[in-house]
Symmetry: C2
Subunit: 336 residues, 2 copies
Amino acid sequence: MNPSHPSGGGAVARCRDLLEPALREAVSVLHPWGARMAAFALGWADADGRPHQGDGGKGVRPAIAMLSAEAVGGTAESALPAAVAVELVHAFSLAHDDIIDHDERRRHREALWKAYGVGPALLTGDALLALAVNQLAGRPEAMSYLSRALIELVNGQTADMAFENRPWRGPKVVTIAEYTEMVAGKTGSLLAAAAAAGVTLGGAPELGDLMWETGRDLGVAFQIIDDMLGIWGEPHVTGKPVYSDLRRDKKTFPVLAALAADHPAARELSDLLAEGVSDEDSVHHAARLVEEAGGRAAAQVQAERYVAAAVGVMDEHLPDAADLRALCVSLADRAR
Amino acid sequence: MNPSHPSGGGAVARCRDLLEPALREAVSVLHPWGARMAAFALGWADADGRPHQGDGGKGVRPAIAMLSAEAVGGTAESALPAAVAVELVHAFSLAHDDIIDHDERRRHREALWKAYGVGPALLTGDALLALAVNQLAGRPEAMSYLSRALIELVNGQTADMAFENRPWRGPKVVTIAEYTEMVAGKTGSLLAAAAAAGVTLGGAPELGDLMWETGRDLGVAFQIIDDMLGIWGEPHVTGKPVYSDLRRDKKTFPVLAALAADHPAARELSDLLAEGVSDEDSVHHAARLVEEAGGRAAAQVQAERYVAAAVGVMDEHLPDAADLRALCVSLADRAR
């Protein structure tokens, strides 16, 4: 995921200012070489260890943890261990995903494994995960949400990998329901843990399970929007090549929704994808067919539906959710 | 590490019988494909998912957890979550280590990444770690030991990797003190967590920190013995090629001790290693020089010293440590 414009408000920036010193302190217990690679992965340093002012990610997950705590009357600081933990888990998953997917670029820079090699990058991912666990080891309620998220995260990534061997047509095509379960794990679980651990540490553990569901819905919306950006996003914004997910045969929401449509373009699309879209012309053509069959519009509608469900829960159950709500709405607007 | 003859007694087998159903239950929450790869990594299945009766490791770490609980008057079952967790972390670290080191064989079979590919093996390692964390998420005292072990483990592995770029002679040679710190992390931390979490869950949390040190000493002994087996072990026992660590320029205890000796063979060895030992003759010659300079004897003495320290603590502080003590002594006898 690459949240391009997570929020117009100052709340996310305020959370980021709290987060960064805590993240740096967490990383300081690593071996110096490991700390240097972690600093690159987190966006503070270039590959030679020099300070880097770049796109280290917008910190959506930690902001959700801290704003969730505030939404139940706690302080942002109270949720800081959860905020640090989810940001570290996010960095861990990106480091390993880029190895798995052979992605050479990340946030307009080399991927970690391109900069340091596969072995060191793999180990740095492990280190980031160990630091995340360490943040919440002494807080069993929040830790249980993080632990559940880790299992759902790897299960979602395994499902995503297994989808690569599924066909584009016929009875074994990936369904929207299967897609939704996969992204609920791959992307939803960490937002779920952020929200649930956030309200728990903010003083309202009784809202933890409800916020888990809410965070997961947000995550599904987030991933659907990311899927849209992966096809139609501007490369200078997303940091990825245009149409990159189409080139890699990724089972994304717009494509699956287009294939499921009763439309002539859907059949043409499944034939084209089954042949494989390798050259520029066929990739462009596939993107046009996805749009023609209604895949892009369906994705926008579905993402907005999930965000609306999440916002509805906040409006009903959280006394002071204005900043959290604004962040969620801004996430849904990214693909417009 | 590859404990070849961890114990003559039935205590380890008794622990293994308790462990296996709990491990299988832990793995059952994974995606079916992930569960299949985990079953291969844990030694229950071959690469096609068929049941496999093989060398899944002797279960030394979980036995230490369970026997530590018994040693303070608790039941083996009370320490089962810690036992499962340390075995899963061990399997995680082997899965990732084999990717990092390009090792194609593990326990007389293909390494996980050779069987399934780097991406799936990497993800399976992550899954095993997530399951380990899940075992102790609700037990903050034991979780804190596991969390500390994870950080020391990755720091030790990072140090081990950094040693690859260190020379064989001159002022930048790796010292025995640096080696010891590295293996205390890479190998000692997980045995430390097993012992400390074991007594904690067994009802004596006040002994946790002491048993951490004791387990770490055992781990250092364990690794020194493994280093000896990595040079002089029988390939059909260790499952590794003869002299494998020498071929790979690994900074192991016998070699470092030999280099530090005031002996003509030490100087000849450093010259030989600096040139690189690639052919059969030079590898054999290097092994002979390590022995001639006293590296093998020094390793045996040092391992026995660490085991004696650990056993001394057990004799003084644990009321019923007979089985745990026997296991530890048997570990020290592996290299004889």
